[in-house]
């Protein structure tokens, strides 16, 4: 009952004309960002943070704008999967399997419509799940002391590589780099200078928003140039939509199952949207695809991964909001937004900033509906945008990113930092060092060190406090499992995902 009251209050926040407008703008921008190949959701949200920040939007509006972008990007990812056979982001990979064959059969419009409906169901159910689960988890998390939090932060890093992660050591390296960058500046507790080398600009530390934009957006530009991808890609033409009620009913059970699986994958640490869409696709194939229509343009093969990845995307907000521990790149970027608005996520968020949190959750419902309404009639416009070649698009995106960074404090130095991080991001990606743990390290570093300090102050310097409660031992066990398990099951899962892709290609060729 209490939850429902909060939710109603949330709708009161989300439904003000101003916030409704931000949700709509976010939804449109997000769909565009998600649809353009190479501009994933993390990238898109990252570019928009400094803008939302320097516009001086109130916290709730800024968050509504950015969560709508996040939701929209998940919708948008499917457009390039279906029409270009190129996933806009990683979770949209599985949508290519049946979406592209459907488009080749002259049913592109149907594939897009079905995927929009499945995305809607996935997001909707997962938001309901978020409403139910988040307050419970937040209440539970109130029992966490500093030792548990320290373990939890470690868990976040350990599972970030995901169950399919290739080289866990590289995830650890990335996390260390991020945490090390976070230690630059004046130490909050003692006032000691650390790694500042008497450079005044470093006293306040390195701004993670600059780092995020540099690492993602600028390195992406370098990759586009290196791959000569300026010309764009060949896409399948859009036909006239012929969708009957029967077609929608046919994919409903699939969407429901996909949503539930996806939500679970999203909430669990280390799983994320990619695994969510993979699991729901493979399960659907086993359940209803016995006659071998999957992979040849079965509408259910489009619905399953889309419901799965949208549900997972919203599920991933549960640990981010309640524990302050994001499970994916994009939620990490959303966390960056919260921190720069001076909002500390975690269990207290639901009591101290109830209005804000529930406003955002309500905005997810509203944004989702806007997205469904946008995506069916206006799909033609989004498809047209896909034909803008990256050779014009990427420079303009780079410009918008730079302007955003410059506008934060009108300082050219910030831009040099951004360029430096762009080079770093390029090198790290070339060496297969994941970027998300670097970012997460910069974000969580100060809190992680603080919880270590608190824990050891309480125990008067006794390090065993870190694993002295049942809860913390449990978290450590999960963390260690998360770090080691990919070595055992990772190769098998990766081979299966690759096999599914290969089969797809042999059909298309």
């Amino acid at each position: 009952m209490e939850t429902l009251n909060f939710l109603l209050q949330g709708f009161a926040v989300a439904l003000t004309p101003e916030n409704l407008m931000f949700a709509a703008i976010g939804a449109i921008l997000g769909t565009i960002i998600g649809a353009l190949p190479g501009l994933g959701p993390a990238n898109g949200v990252a570019i928009l943070i400094p803008l939302a920040f320097s516009l001086g939007l109130p916290a709730s509006s800024a968050l509504i704008l950015l969560t709508s972008v996040y939701a929209g990007a998940m919708y948008g990812g499917r457009i390039s999967s279906i029409l270009l056979n190129i996933p806009g982001d990683e979770p949209a990979m599985m949508t290519c399997l049946d979406g592209y064959p459907m488009a080749l059969k002259g049913k592109a419009a149907e594939a897009l419509a079905i995927s929009a409906i499945a995305s809607f169901i996935g997001s909707l159910l997962a938001t309901v799940g978020l409403v139910i689960l988040a307050p419970v988890l937040a209440k539970f998390a109130l029992r966490f002391g500093p030792a548990e939090y320290f373990a939890l932060f470690t868990l976040a890093f350990a599972t970030l590589g995901g169950i399919t992660g290739k080289n866990q050591v590289k995830t650890v390296v990335a996390a260390c780099l991020g945490l090390m960058i976070a230690t630059i500046g004046v130490d909050i507790t003692t006032g000691n200078q650390r790694y500042t080398y008497d450079i005044l600009e470093l006293y306040e530390g390195v701004d993670f928003i600059i780092a995020i934009v540099g690492l993602f957006a600028i390195s992406e530009l370098l990759f586009f140039i290196e791959m000569h991808a300026g010309e764009g890609f060949k896409k399948v033409a859009l036909n006239k939509l012929k969708l009957s009620m029967k077609d929608i009913i046919q994919v409903l059970p699939t969407s429901l199952r996909g949503s539930i699986l996806g939500f679970i994958a999203g909430v669990l640490p280390g799983a994320g949207a990619s695994l969510g869409s993979f699991l729901s696709y493979t399960m659907e194939k086993k359940v209803v695809g016995k006659n071998g229509t999957f992979g040849e343009g079965d509408p259910r093969g489009v619905a399953a991964p889309e419901a799965g990845n949208n549900a997972a995307a919203n599920g991933a907000l549960v640990p981010m909001l309640t524990l302050g521990v994001p499970g994916s790149g994009t939620t990490a970027v959303l966390l960056a937004m919260l921190i720069s608005l001076n909002i500390q996520p975690g269990p207290m968020l639901f009591t101290q900033n109830a209005e804000l949190v529930w406003g955002v959750i309500a905005a997810l419902f509203v944004g989702n509906l806007i997205l469904l309404l946008l995506n069916i009639p206006m799909i033609g416009i989004f498809v047209k945008l896909l034909s803008i070649p990256p050779k014009y698009l990427m420079p303009v995106v780079t410009l918008v990113a730079s302007v955003g960074i410059f506008a934060i404090s009108n300082s050219p130095l910030d831009l040099y930092f951004m360029i430096g991080f762009g080079l770093l991001g390029y090198l790290l990606r070339k060496l297969h060092i994941p970027l998300v743990p670097v970012i997460l390290g910069m974000l969580l570093g100060p809190e992680m060190e603080k919880s270590l300090r608190h824990a050891l102050t309480i125990s008067d310097g006794d390090w065993t406090i870190l694993w002295s409660s049942g809860l913390s031992v449990g978290i450590w066990v999960v963390a260690i499992t998360g770090l080691v398990l990919p070595y055992i099951v990772g190769p098998v899962l990766r081979r299966r995902m690759a096999a599914a892709q290969d089969k797809e290609h042999s059909i298309v060729d």
């Binding site: 320097s54 080289n167 650390r194 586009f224 506008a407 270590l452």
Partner: protein, 149 residues
């Protein structure tokens, strides 16, 4: 293989220097505590050191690195961004942006004329959008005529 080995050596060096500096931090005002300013950095230094040794011992397959010409190209792109930053305040947003976007479009394979059109167009649109609609003031530079803000 070689990529990861070089990375391993660089990271090991970083870990040692970073850890060494942490150990040299002066004792904080008010006496030392269980966790001082150096504790967390020291932990990080040890973890990074161990990981970099692992990379040295068991490196991954190399990604294909671009040849010299492409490296020069990428360096040029970074240079263009740096020149943009340098020009931004003294020369102004519109000329700096026109130059940056045009050159980037051109380097990504667009023909000169459409590149310049994109450059001028995006510069003017973003400038107008920011200065008048969003009220974030971008440097006008040389274009600032008379007493306008």
């Amino acid at each position: 293989m070689i990529g990861d080995r070089i990375l391993g050596i660089a990271l090991l060096l970083l870990a040692v220097v970073y850890g060494w500096e942490a150990a040299m931090f002066p004792e904080p005002f008010g006496g030392s505590e269980a966790v001082g300013p150096e504790t967390f950095p020291l932990i990080l230094s040890v973890i990074l050191g161990l990981s970099s040794i692992y990379l040295l011992v068991r490196p991954d397959e190399d990604e294909e690195w671009p040849h010299m010409k492409m490296l020069a190209e990428l360096g040029f792109v970074l240079l263009v961004l740096a020149v943009f930053t340098l020009m931004l305040q003294p020369v102004g947003f519109i000329p700096a942006t026109t130059l940056m976007v045009s050159v980037l479009c051109w380097r990504m394979g667009a023909k000169p004329l459409p590149s310049v059109v994109t450059g001028v167009g995006s510069a003017v649109v973003v400038y107008v959008l920011f200065n008048f609609l969003l009220e974030l003031h971008l440097p006008a530079g040389l274009l600032k005529l008379g007493g306008g803000a």
